[in-house]
Subunit: 203 residues, 2 copies
């Protein structure tokens, strides 16, 4: 909040150099294509970031498909909200809550396979600009789906379609295949301080 | 994908133990209160995760306020989308692009201060269930706002209101004050592989 002209000038000079670097990087990155993103890690924000991308895509007039592989026994806020736009968002909740709620591996496998059937339809549809595969990483980690099948279907999607796969415990082959990978790291969580899951934050 | 009963039984037993741990944690966490979240780090997803929370909150019928401190010279997809709901979302874009575009420190400070004036109104309004302070961390890092004022206004908000502050380079005092902190770490970025910023992903 200093008013010193020297500080302002240093700032201007530093920002000019930064702008030159950013402009150069933008000039180099000219490929137009669909992007495959992975959100993993133990922190918050893996799914909500994917749902923020849904809002962003809708703002650009794109059509969106969502498949929830594990969560969804409880209706979440995002689901309630995005179901308001049935023409623009195709929303599929295939899981039956977390696997430690069901404790039935064969049923989890059957559900995950059915979910992948829906995902494959979306990944085949060039009208769909963004496909969200929510908690896919968990289904893969538990071996509920064939990794090779999943990677092949993602690779064969329409060239301009974006895909985002979420969930902790991502397999190395998914990181290898993805264009952009973010690890949401847990620094601090309200839950551990005795605050229970809050509407609008956790669900 | 094994059909072996032993593997299924091991899975069931492991998931039962996990369920017991999760149920115990839920039983302990009973505080009902607004949560203050921080999204920082160099990876993607800080802002889009906050916008996913907006969708979630709207799904629960909450009212939402958004203040963008730095970004917003270009109209983003999220802005275009959430401006469809003027009764539910109060959306304020106060910055004029990244600071390395403007290169004018005094103007950046004036804009940030004006943005905080709007933020303070939202933080005073018990009708607003979620306040998004997008790129606030950057404004604080550059010293465009008084940290003590910001922390005091956040602490004095209505008890059930949630706040999420985004941006890389979060100050330690913000981490200290927050209930939940997520560090979005960059593992891999399409930009570096020569793919330019894509509609629906980066903007």
């Amino acid at each position: 909040m200093s008013e010193s002209p020297e500080k302002d000038e240093r700032h201007r000079s530093r920002m000019q150099r930064k702008k030159a670097v950013v402009d150069e990087k933008i000039a180099q990155a000219q490929g137009e294509q669909g992007v495959f993103l992975v959100h993993s890690g133990n922190g918050k924000g893996k799914s909500s970031s994917a749902f923020g991308m849904v809002a962003r895509a809708l703002g650009h007039g794109m059509r969106v498909g969502v498949v929830q592989f594990i969560k969804g026994a409880a209706s979440t806020g995002e689901e309630a909200f995005f179901r308001r736009f049935p023409e623009e968002v195709s929303f599929h909740v295939m899981g039956e809550g977390f696997t430690w709620e069901t404790q039935d591996r064969q049923r989890d496998i059957a559900k995950a396979q059915a979910a992948w059937g829906i995902a494959r339809q979306l990944l085949n549809d060039p009208q769909v600009g963004l496909v969200v595969l929510d908690e896919l990483n968990i289904a893969l980690k538990h071996g509920y789906l064939e990794l090779d099948t999943v990677l092949a279907d993602i690779a064969a999607r329409p060239p301009m379609q974006h895909v985002v796969a979420t969930g902790r415990g991502v397999l190395p082959a998914m990181v290898e295949a993805a264009d952009t990978v973010t690890e949401m790291g847990l620094v601090k969580h309200a839950f551990k301080a005795g605050i229970k899951a809050q509407k609008g934050v956790e669900f």
